[in-house]
Amino acid sequence: MLNFLKQVGDYAKETAQAAKFIGQGLSVTFDHMKRRPVTVQYPYEKLIPSERYRGRIHFEFDKCISCEVCVRVCPINLPVVDWEFNRETKKKTLNHYSIDFGVCIFCGNCVEYCPTNCLSMTEEYELASYDRHNLNYDNVALGRLPYKVTNDPMVTPMREFGYLPKGVMDPHDLPAGTQRAGRLPKDILAELETQKAKEDAKKASVEAAE
């Protein structure tokens, strides 16, 4: 009898606990109702891609020396470099260059290793097309510059978290001229340059004194 009562008691305790947990869960979901939506209304509003965004690759035909480093560092040897050896100048001439973005994983190894910096990452990400063969970009398509989100009159550009002032989570209705958290790269660069110039001047004055 006592055993049975204990069982009933345990069962009741478990039930009360389950009800408590469901109540806690409900309070969490209820709390979310009053938070502001994080939605970016995509075709009308777009996030500004970050500085290191790895989007569609840009290729500059004239800079390329057909060294094929991009092919070697690519995880799947994706870039197609079509060149001929010119016996008169003893140099390679590039005929065609193409990357298939249907296969590319946008790892950026080719950009990293290109000795002449003829490859670069852009902020373009809207590559959708009706035919996968359209994703195979040749050197002309790769040479096109992407359209910037901030220049598009149809689009309201939205800042990503990295561009927002400290503590601000919402890119809507920011007052004009608000700065992001931290310092801008160009300010840091300017400061480094003045510092370097100062050190150089000091060194020069020391040398002159000697």
Binding site: T15, I22, G25, L26, V28, T29, F30, H32, M33, R35, R36, P37, V38, T39, Q41
Partner: protein
């Protein structure tokens, strides 16, 4: 007791005064409340769908529908129009008759149950003597429809979904009926009007939820399971069964299942508010308010105001429960089929039996508080 406004009586009298015989006048009246109820049920689908989408969006920090109609209120209309224009496909080697009848059998009883939902003393289609029992009887027709839909689709997922739906509906009907029985025991009658009147004595303190807290919880859980709402939506669990018995359905037949589920949700919320939350009664009794203000209860303006207040109160209570359901949907994970049946047979059934016995005992010991 305040008799409230009698729409039927005044309408029939007006027609007789116009020179119609009383039989014809009553026949003219008959379809009017039914049509009104159909409209109310259909409009409630739109409201429920809108609430569902907006509250779900709120719980997930999204915006939800915005462009279809004002603040996205016509999203359900857009969905319905799309479904109407879709090709109506009957799968190969299926049973075309059962396949076509299935959704109708699911939907019709749900709409029929609105017969007994009261919005005021006289604002009900029929004050049946069997009242709430009619709803229990009609709600057990739906699993037959699910089973027909699942069986006739010639698809193993549909069949499993249909079987699950039937098993779930049957096993949760018992605790549902037992907890209704406890309320009926206190009312000494099955009529929904009597059930509300029994609660209307002391404002919100007289509501059945205080005398039947366990019954309320059991009824609510079982009603969620009957409506196949999350966390009990495993007949249509997409991860396991594609879409259960709905898998092979397209077009308006598929839409009928959705209509059925939303109307059923609304109906369950209304029934809970009638059984446990005092139906149309205001948290403070209308008689007390009129007494304090010093106006006569039978004045036409007061009658009109209290009738509209009753309708609003019923709907507010029902929509609060709908809100709770939608919030529960995003809080609680789906249960497994064995957990579902465990909960139904091993927990809800014994607890509701104990609740019924307790109510009977309390009725014998405290007849003044438990309707002796």
């Amino acid at each position: 007791m305040n008799p409230g406004i009698d729409l039927q009586g005044s309408f029939v009298r007006a027609l007789i005064d116009l020179g119609l015989p009383s039989g014809v006048a009553k026949t003219v009246w008959l379809p009017l409340p039914m049509l009104l109820m159909l409209v109310v049920a259909t409009v409630s689908i739109f409201i429920c769908v809108w609430l569902e989408r907006k509250i779900s969006a709120g719980a997930q920090q999204r915006i939800g529908p915005e462009y279809v109609g004002p603040i996205g209120a016509l999203q359900a209309v857009a969905d319905g129009v799309k479904l109407i224009f879709k090709a109506d496909i009957t799968p190969a080697k299926s049973d075309p008759w059962l396949f076509a009848i299935g959704p109708a059998i699911v939907v019709i009883p749900v709409f029929l149950s609105f017969l007994i939902v009261p919005f005021g003393q006289n604002l009900v289609i029929t004050d049946l003597g069997i009242g709430i029992f009619l709803w229990i009887a009609l709600s057990s027709i739906a699993p037959i429809g699910f089973l027909m839909a699942g069986y006739s689709s010639n698809n193993k997922y549909s069949l499993l979904g249909g079987l699950r739906a039937a098993a779930q509906s049957i096993s949760y009907e018992i605790p549902l009926a037992l907890s209704v029985l406890a309320v009926v025991l206190m009312t000494n009658g099955l009529s929904t009007i009597d059930i509300v009147n029994q609660q209307s004595g002391y404002g919100f303190l007289g509501w059945n939820i205080w005398r039947q807290p366990v019954g309320f919880v059991i009824f609510w859980i079982s009603a969620l399971a009957e409506c196949e709402r999350l966390p009990f939506d495993l007949p249509e669990a997409e991860e396991e069964l594609v879409a259960g018995y709905q898998t092979e359905y397209t077009g308006m037949k598929f839409g009928l299942f959705y209509v059925g589920s939303y109307v059923n949700l609304m109906l369950s919320a209304l029934i809970v508010s009638v059984l446990y939350l005092g139906g149309w009664s205001f948290p403070i009794p209308v008689e007390t308010i009129t007494g304090l203000l010093g106006v006569s209860e039978s004045a036409p303006v007061v009658q009109l105001l209290s009738a509209s207040l009753g309708i609003v109160m019923t709907l507010i209570k029902a929509y609060l429960l709908v809100f709770l359901t939608i919030l529960l949907r995003w809080t609680v994970p789906r249960v497994r089929i064995d957990q579902l049946l465990d909960l139904g047979w091993k927990f809800l059934l014994p607890v509701s039996l104990v609740n019924l016995l307790l109510t009977a005992g309390l009725k014998l010991t405290f007849p003044f508080a438990f309707g002796g």
